[in-house]
Structures are given as structure tokens and as C-alpha cells.
């Protein structure tokens, strides 16, 4: 072949190998495929091209995107434009991490195993819950698995989810509930916070009066919520405990530098999107789901778990453990079908959290909060822009615009800004068509914020 190939065989070697196998041609190796279904004329697309041409082609496509190269990012909603320091990028792209498989042979996989062990420790310290798995696919899949675990534990199919939880994640939960049969009930919001009273009345009474089957065994709340608002989680814990429900708290890992942890609220399970620590925006993936829980739930933990042990000489070693829970052993009796995790992203997360350290995480969260407060005050002072001024926020807030939010995003893009997430789109709700979710990270400078406000004023007037 004149074109490139990653298969190393020379023509002579191919002939030698066929001869050794005892067949006359490559085609003979495929003889067991019925002739009636064989591909006759080859696949109907172009022949191969050089690496240079492939790279150039992909680069050309990338230039049709509005990336952080050419737009200052104020969009969030579950994915955030945080800085990724060079040390994290360099270490996480080392090929021993990138090209390894799942650590089935622990004797030659100590690098990945120890990094995951450290990752599990870091996340557990972050959320103040003792058990953290080796990660799941993304925030949404972590929430699905939390709901599945909780339903299996409580035996109650009813799941009550605040509409303050990321709308895409809620959609994913509903999709997978079609297989499991879970009954997903959503609690509406009033002015940015969850209106639990439609279910709880004056506390837990209205639940308690219901038939036992109707009482939710699982309650899901987000802190901060999708709109950046800090809700009263202590109150949710009080009544959810009264009805015997497990509490799942969706959190923002960056907020843990400043805000209370799910563990401090008494959460049974805590899940999050881990992209914020060391993973690029990447147009939505690959990211990683963070999953933690109380110790009593460990036997139902989905995905992989790394534990510390010793080798035959008594030396410290790491290994995936409690494997008997996993799908490849339990097969149809498994409570999760997850085989793997997002190890490479978990390793990057581990490196990034170590780069931040104790004081860096606090500083990162503080910087997000300071930028949020600064921008929020300025934007809300614009005439025609409204928003709640009495709620506590972290890193994100909603503004009500005098015109369609999608149109604002389009016009702001011409001025070099990705202005935010138009909520009419993500919530699929017309009543939010003039609502824009604006997000901040430590990367945003005062001059960027000032120009954002000026540009927004121009665009809406």
C-alpha cells in the first residue's frame, strides 16, 4: 500500500505468516463468513490520506468553531472555563497514563491504581464522605447511578428531584428510568429555589399521611443549584430523614473551597461533574462523574473502587477491590452495568487538586465568588436587566433580559463573548426565553467583566 498504515507487516511477512498458518490467502481466513453477507465492493468512502492531511482537515474544521480562542467564556451550566496549569496538562498526557488499560494486572498497574487511590481520597476529603469510587462517565451518569443505588437500598421506586438540578442530567435520569421503572417526580422552583412544600406541606406530614409506597425513598437536590443559588439543604435533610429517604446532593467541586460539603449536611450520596479540575471544556466530553457515599452503602457502589493492600512481600500495593459487586462477575444480578470509569480524567483531577492544594482550592473558590459578586452587581444595575438580588449565589446567576436571550448570545458573540447559557434552550421552556445563565471562573479579569457589561448594555438597548 502506498498510503500509511499502523499495521507493521511487510508483504513478505504476510506471505510467510499465511504459509505458516496453512492457508493460501487472507480471504481464506474469512471463510466462515457466509458469502451472502460479505462486503463485495469495498466500503463506500474515500481511501486513506496522510497524517498531515488529516490534521490539516481537522484544524480547518476547528476554525469553524467559536472556542475560547476567540470568545471570552461566560457560559457554564455544568461545564466551566477553568485554567488548566501546564504541569497538569503535561503529567496527565504522559503516555503511561494515556495508553494503559483498566488495571486488571495490579502488579504492572500500580501507577494508575495509586493515582486513583489518591483521587478517591481527595474527593472524599472534598465532600466529607468516606467512600468515593474511581469515577463514572459524567455528572449525569453519576446521578443515574446514585438514584439506582438509592432505589435498590430503600426498595422505593419513587424518586423526588428538585428542578434546581441540571436539566440535562434530569433528562438522562428520566431516560434510564424507562428501563429500571423508577418513578421520577420533579419539584418545581419558586424564584430560584425548590418549592418542596408542594410535597411536604408543613414538613413531612403530607408524605407521612400517604400510603407507604408513595413516599419517595430518594430525594435529589443541587448545591449550588443550576441557577447558582444556594438552597437550604439542612431543611431538606430534616424532612427527608423524617420520611426515611436517602438524600443525594449534587455539588460543584470548586465551591467546596468555600461552601459547606454534602457530608456536612448529612447527605447519603454526593455526585458532581469533575471537569472543573483539570479537564478541558472539550465540547462536553470526555468528562468525569464524581460519586461518593456513606460507608453503609459501599456494597452497592457502582463502578470501580481501588483499595490499599500489600503484596506477597508485605509491601504497600493497590488493587481494584470489592470486585464481586461488578457486572462481569454478577452478570444479570448486578445493580449497575458500568465496567470502567474515566481514569484518565480522574488522574488529571487528582493532579489538578494536588496542584491547587489546601490554600489554592480556597483561593480558587474565593476568586469565582468575587468575580460573580462583581459582575452580578454591575449587570443588575443595567436598566432593563433584572435578577434576584436577595439570594445567595456561587459562581453563577440568572439575569432576565428585555429581549430574547438567544439573540443576546448571538449579538454578544459578534463582540467576542460567549455570553452565557440561554435557559429557554436548556430548560425547553418558553417562559425562560429571556433568561440567561451567566457563569464565572478565576480566569475572568476585571477588564473582561467591565467590557461584558458595556457590550451587554449596547446589545439590549
Amino acid at each position: 500500500m502506498s498510503q500509511g498504515t499502523y499495521a507493521p507487516h511487510s508483504n513478505d511477512e504476510i506471505a510467510q505468516m499465511l504459509d505458516y498458518i496453512g492457508v493460501g490467502s487472507i480471504e481464506d481466513l474469512f471463510e466462515s463468513i457466509p458469502d451472502s453477507v460479505m462486503v463485495k465492493d469495498g466500503l463506500n468512502f474515500a481511501r486513506g490520506i496522510s497524517e498531515t492531511d488529516v490534521y490539516e482537515f481537522m484544524s480547518q474544521l476547528s476554525k469553524q468553531n467559536g472556542s475560547t480562542d476567540n470568545l471570552i467564556c461566560f457560559a457554564g451550566g455544568g461545564a466551566y472555563d477553568h485554567d488548566i496549569p501546564f504541569a497538569t496538562r503535561s503529567l496527565a498526557s504522559r503516555s503511561e497514563f494515556v495508553t494503559a488499560y483498566t488495571p486488571y494486572q495490579p502488579e504492572v498497574s500500580q501507577g494508575v491504581l495509586q493515582a486513583i487511590f489518591e483521587f478517591q481520597t481527595l474527593i472524599s476529603r472534598l465532600v466529607e464522605l468516606p467512600i468515593t469510587n474511581a469515577s463514572l462517565y459524567d455528572g449525569a451518569s453519576a446521578l443515574v447511578e446514585a438514584v439506582n443505588l438509592s432505589v435498590a437500598q430503600t426498595g422505593k421506586q419513587n424518586v423526588l428531584i428538585s428542578k434546581g438540578v441540571n436539566p440535562y442530567w434530569r433528562q438522562v435520569v428520566k431516560t434510564f428510568s424507562k428501563g429500571t421503572g423508577h418513578n421520577i417526580v420533579e419539584a418545581d422552583l419558586i424564584r430560584g429555589t425548590t418549592n418542596w412544600s408542594q410535597f411536604t406541606g408543613e414538613g413531612a406530614e403530607s408524605f407521612v399521611q400517604k400510603d407507604n409506597e408513595d413516599i419517595p425513598g430518594t430525594v435529589v437536590v443541587s448545591y449550588p443549584n443550576y441557577f447558582g443559588v444556594l438552597e437550604d439543604i439542612d431543611e431538606v435533610r430534616r424532612w427527608s430523614k423524617d420520611i426515611g429517604a436517602l438524600l443525594v446532593v449534587v455539588y460543584d467541586p470548586v465551591a467546596m473551597g468555600l461552601l459547606r460539603s454534602p457530608g456536612s449536611f448529612g447527605a447519603d450520596l454526593a455526585v458532581a461533574e469533575g471537569q472543573v479540575f483539570g479537564t478541558a471544556l472539550s465540547y462536553g466530553g470526555p468528562y468525569l462523574g464524581l460519586f461518593s457515599c456513606r460507608q453503609e452503602l459501599v456494597r452497592r457502589l457502582p463502578g470501580r473502587l481501588v483499595g490499599r493492600t500489600v503484596d506477597s512481600a508485605g509491601k504497600t500495593a493497590y488493587v481494584t477491590t470489592l470486585r464481586a459487586r461488578e457486572q462481569d462477575i454478577r452478570r444479570e444480578k448486578a445493580s449497575s452495568n458500568v465496567c470502567t470509569n474515566q481514569t484518565l480524567m480522574a488522574v488529571a483531577c487528582c493532579i489538578q487538586m494536588s496542584w491547587l492544594g489546601k490554600s489554592g482550592l480556597i483561593e480558587l473558590a474565593r476568586r469565582c465568588a468575587i468575580a460573580t459578586d462583581y459582575l452580578r452587581q454591575k449587570v443588575l444595575s443595567l436598566s432593563g436587566v433584572n435578577g434576584s438580588s436577595d439570594l445567595d449565589h456561587f459562581r453563577e446567576f440568572v439575569i432576565e433580559l428585555p429581549i430574547d436571550a438567544e439573540a443576546v448570545v448571538e449579538r454578544m458573540a459578534c463582540e467576542g463573548f460567549l455570553a452565557g447559557i440561554p435557559l429557554g434552550v436548556t430548560l425547553q421552556d418558553e417562559s425562560y426565553s429571556r433568561s440567561l445563565l451567566v457563569s464565572l471562573t478565576e480566569k475572568r479579569t476585571r477588564s473582561e467583566l467591565d467590557r461584558y457589561v458595556e457590550t451587554l448594555e449596547k446589545v439590549i438597548s
Binding site: G48, Q64, S67, T68, V108, R125, T175, L322, D373
Partner: protein, 536 residues
């Protein structure tokens, strides 16, 4: 044809590039955890000067929300951080170091070019909430990849959302359920071969179905008579891997498809072993209705130590309306020629009316399965890999993968028993039950010993229906020299098992790796999943 132990065994072994015999520097040392390297006041972090106020106004966040005790993240210098994680990489096997013949895992070489593609800032620096008119490049990548994967599999359309093979399986089963529901049918059971990956039955359960297991016949294929006896109006479908986990092509697939379709069921294709058949046969032509692919296997995206992957799911035309939404679609002409290069730069004045690509929701969609659009950067790598190989190159990939597996099968068949000794596809399954009977040395011991020869071990004890199984998938990217070195190592190990006292000696292996045989029982009995963990 010559005897399998001819001189070709040592012919090129000294030149084999796939053998990782180097051991870590100071290999017997342990690496402390990052927590033990922590020292108060040390730090890496620095942030840009934003010119924003230094302090957070007290009014911004009420005191009851503030964390009382800071998270104890380690305090290390950047130099110590880099040292720690670099030393960890020296304790880790990888494809870049040597051959990784794990059966059913397709641990092929991951092209460096694709790493660079994934790092193009216009791709990696894209917020997933960016509106379609500013995401035309990404949408085109997805549309093109979908078209190419549809052509390779013979399916009508594909969702790129599933983040991994297992998530693809569950998505596929929900599609199966949505299809039957739309016909007003409540079917209850899915047929799965006893050789199937464990994920299959787990996914079936989570899809709300019950499993019926069909046995394997003496040729290593699904027992068609059993399938015939199982089908009925309660059957939602059948899940097959073809070639199956024994590395054997299901020759009766056309008849199986006829039987399942006749009773109103659907055929699900588990793409775990797709690397064997590209350009040779397509699941769609075999009669499959739902197909998932593992881009991290067949399409060479790196496994990352156990993720990320991507598990796109393709469907036949009657299932397209049920696919997860939103789907990237092509609006007009323009992207039909797969290799047409575009010189369109991003405009300063976006004009939404000239969109070439957009998002759309299938009419009866099962809903979203991913937080955003799927593992996009994995998708970009896969597209780059397919463009590089082209239609002819992908066929060559499968041919060489099958050639390598058959060469190993032929070579090893005189030393080990091949579970089903006939022409195989991309992988072969050996049983070491003879060695176990003669010496007490188990498949696991042989796998551990192989680590010391500089190879990663094959998959052990799978498929479950083969006693003392060693499942070997060399992939197309290992050279003849590497295959010879691997075969020689396995032959030498077989010889070692015949030595007196080999059982005890083998149980002490490996000794030259960063750690010796790991005590897995202790890990489970005395659970220590974090540095801080205090048991009950």
C-alpha cells in the same frame, strides 16, 4: 507448512519492539502517597492578576453556607508534584511500552496524530453549550463520523452520545424497548449466549428485561437449535457478539436473524469484537437492528487506564426515530463528500441562516443519555483515525488483526490446547487446564509469569465456558517479531510448568515487577479505599 516449533520462533525475537523488559528505576522502592509528600506552606498554585477586589464582600454569601474546616488537600511544590506523578508512570504498563494482548479489549497502538488532533484548541477549548451557529466545525465532525460509522456497520443512523460500550448497550436496549412499546407489545426476555461479556446480562436487567441464556455448541458457536426452541412472542431480542468471545464467527447468523425477526424480536450487535470484520462483513447486512461500537477498541482511541471511551449506537431505519436527542444533522448539501476540505473561517458576523449543520430531536426519542453531546474529543480522534486509514485501510486493519491471531493460534496450538481449534478471527482462546492437571499451575500463574517476560497478560478466566482460559488478542499493530517473542515466552513458561515444584514457584510470580503478587483478598476483607479510611 512446517512444525510449529520451527526456527521462526527466535528469528526476530531480539528485534521485537513490543516487549517491555525494562523495570522501573529502583524497582523495589515504593512511592509514598501525595499526602505523605505534603508539607505545610508548600504550594504549586498561582492565578492570574484579575484586578478584581481582593476580598469577598460579606454580603455575598451568608455565613451559614460557609465551610468550617477546609478540605485537607496536599501541600506540595510543583517540582514535588511532577516528581511524584512521573514516578507513578514508571510503575505502569501501557501500550506505548509493550504488547498488551488482552482478549476482547483490542489494545492496539494509539496513533500520536490523534493526540494532537484532540489538542487542537478550536476543538478542546469549546464550551458544549455554544450555540449551533458557532459550533459548525464540531457538528460537521459528528455528522461525518456518524456517516462513516454507518457505512462501516451498514446501519441507517447512529447516536454518538453514549460514553462507553456499556452505556451504548443500555441505550440500545432502551431503543429495543421503545420500538416494542411503540408497537403496543410488552416483550419480556432477551437471549444471550453463555459466552457473552458480563456487561450484556447486566445491561439487559437495567433495560428492564430478563435474560435467557443460550448454550454454545461444540464448534464454539451459538446453538441454533436452542435459539429455535427459545423464540416466541415474549422475546424482545437477542444480543450477540460476532465474532463471539471465543474469536469465532457465528456462521449461522443469517438463520439466527431470520428466526429472531420472524418472532418479532430484534438483533443487537455487541461491537466489542468489531476489529475483526471491517470491510469484510457489516452487522446491518447480517440482519442486526442495533449495533454499538467501542471507539476505544476498534478505532484506536486510547483507553486512558480504563476510560474515557465512546460507545456510539447505530440502528436500522425502523429505529431511527427513537434515537437519543439531540442529534447533529446536516441541513443542506456540503458535507457529502467525506474528504472535501473546507476553507470557511469563523465569521465575525455569524449568519444563522446559512447554517450547514444543526441539532434536531428525533420524533419519538428515548431522550438524552449524556450530560452533553457525548465524549466529543474521543469522537474527533476516531474520525481522524478513519480518515487516515480510509476504506481500504480499515479493511487492512481487520485482515492483519485476524492474520496475527491465527499465526499465534497455529504457533501455540502445539504447546497449549486451543479451546476451539479452527480458523479464528481477531482473537484466540487457550485453555491451560492440561498444565493445571499436570503441575497445578493455573492460568492466573501463567499470566503473572508472562508479566516478567515483558508482556502484559492476556485476559484470564474469560469466557466463562472455557476452563482455565487465556484469551489472547494481539491486534494488527503488533509485528511478527513481537508475536514470535510473545509465543516464545508462552512456550518457555509452558516448559517451566513441567519442572518439579513448579506450582509453588509459579505462585511466587511475579517478583521483578514494581510490586509482587497483590493480596486481593486482604484488600476486600480489610477495605481501605482512601488514605484516611477508618473501618467500622
Amino acid at each position: 507448512m512446517t512444525d510449529s516449533n520451527n526456527d521462526s520462533g527466535q528469528l526476530h525475537a531480539s528485534k521485537a519492539g513490543g516487549v517491555a523488559k525494562s523495570v522501573p528505576l529502583l524497582g523495589s522502592a515504593t512511592e509514598p502517597t501525595i499526602f505523605e509528600l505534603s508539607s505545610p506552606g508548600h504550594r504549586c498554585w498561582s492565578f492570574r492578576d484579575t484586578q478584581l477586589p481582593e476580598d469577598l464582600p460579606q454580603t455575598a454569601i451568608s455565613p451559614e453556607h460557609l465551610r468550617k474546616t477546609p478540605a485537607e488537600l496536599p501541600e506540595v511544590s510543583e517540582r514535588d508534584l511532577v516528581g511524584h506523578f512521573t514516578r507513578l508512570t514508571h510503575r505502569q504498563y501501557s501500550v506505548d511500552l509493550g504488547a498488551y494482548p488482552l482478549g476482547s479489549c483490542t489494545m492496539k497502538y494509539n496513533p500520536k496524530m490523534c493526540d494532537y488532533v484532540a489538542n487542537i484548541s478550536g476543538l478542546s477549548g469549546m464550551h458544549p453549550g455554544t450555540p449551533a451557529f458557532l459550533s459548525q466545525g464540531w457538528l460537521e465532525i459528528m455528522v461525518r463520523l456518524e456517516k462513516l460509522l454507518c457505512e462501516v456497520t451498514g446501519m441507517a443512523a447512529m447516536t454518538l452520545q453514549p460514553a462507553a460500550g456499556a452505556q451504548g448497550e443500555l441505550t440500545g436496549l432502551l431503543l429495543m424497548r421503545a420500538f416494542h412499546d411503540s408497537n403496543g407489545e410488552s416483550r419480556t426476555h432477551v437471549i444471550i449466549p453463555d459466552s457473552a461479556h458480563g456487561t450484556n446480562p447486566a445491561s439487559v436487567t437495567l433495560g428492564g428485561y430478563s435474560v435467557i441464556t443460550v448454550p454454545t455448541d461444540e464448534r464454539g458457536c451459538v446453538n441454533v437449535e436452542s435459539v429455535r426452541s427459545m423464540i416466541g412472542p415474549h422475546i424482545a431480542g437477542i444480543m450477540l457478539t460476532n465474532p463471539n468471545t471465543l474469536g469465532i464467527f457465528e456462521e449461522e447468523i443469517v438463520e439466527i436473524a431470520r428466526l429472531v425477526h420472524e418472532c418479532g424480536g430484534l438483533l443487537y450487535y455487541d461491537g466489542a469484537n468489531f476489529n475483526a470484520i471491517m470491510g469484510k462483513v457489516r452487522p446491518g447486512d447480517m440482519g442486526f437492528d442495533i449495533v454499538h461500537l467501542n471507539l476505544h477498541k476498534t478505532f484506536a482511541t486510547p483507553h486512558g487506564g480504563g476510560g474515557p471511551g465512546a460507545g456510539p449506537v447505530g440502528v436500522s431505519s425502523r429505529l431511527v426515530d427513537f434515537l437519543p436527542g439531540p442529534r447533529p444533522i446536516e441541513l443542506g448539501n456540503g458535507a457529502n463528500e467525506v474528504l472535501e476540505h473546507s476553507n470557511m473561517d469563523i465569521s465575525n458576523e455569524p449568519v444563522t441562516t446559512s447554517l450547514r449543520f444543526d441539532w434536531s430531536w428525533p420524533e419519538r426519542s428515548i431522550g438524552r443519555v449524556h450530560s452533553w453531546h457525548g465524549n466529543s474529543l474521543v469522537l474527533a480522534r476516531a474520525l481522524a483515525y478513519i480518515l487516515y486509514n480510509g476504506s481500504d485501510g480499515l479493511k487492512h486493519v481487520s485482515e492483519m488483526a485476524v492474520l496475527n491471531a491465527n499465526w499465534l493460534r497455529r504457533r501455540l496450538s502445539s504447546t497449549y490446547q486451543v479451546a476451539f481449534d479452527r480458523i479464528c478471527m481477531h482473537e484466540l482462546v487457550l485453555t491451560t487446564s492440561q498444565q493445571k492437571r499436570d503441575s497445578g499451575v493455573k492460568a492466573l500463574d501463567i499470566a503473572k509469569r508472562l508479566l516478567e517476560y515483558g508482556f502484559h497478560a492476556p485476559t484470564v478466566y474469560f469466557p466463562l465456558i472455557v476452563d482455565e482460559a487465556l484469551m489472547i488478542e494481539p491486534t494488527e499493530t503488533e509485528s511478527l517479531e513481537t508475536l514470535e517473542a510473545l509465543a516464545s515466552a508462552l512456550e518457555a513458561i509452558a516448559k517451566e510448568t513441567t519442572q518439579p515444584g513448579s506450582k509453588e514457584v509459579f505462585q511466587s510470580y511475579p517478583t521483578t515487577t514494581p510490586v509482587g503478587r497483590v493480596d486481593e483478598a486482604l484488600a476486600a476483607r480489610k477495605l481501605t479505599p482512601t488514605f484516611d479510611f477508618v473501618g467500622e
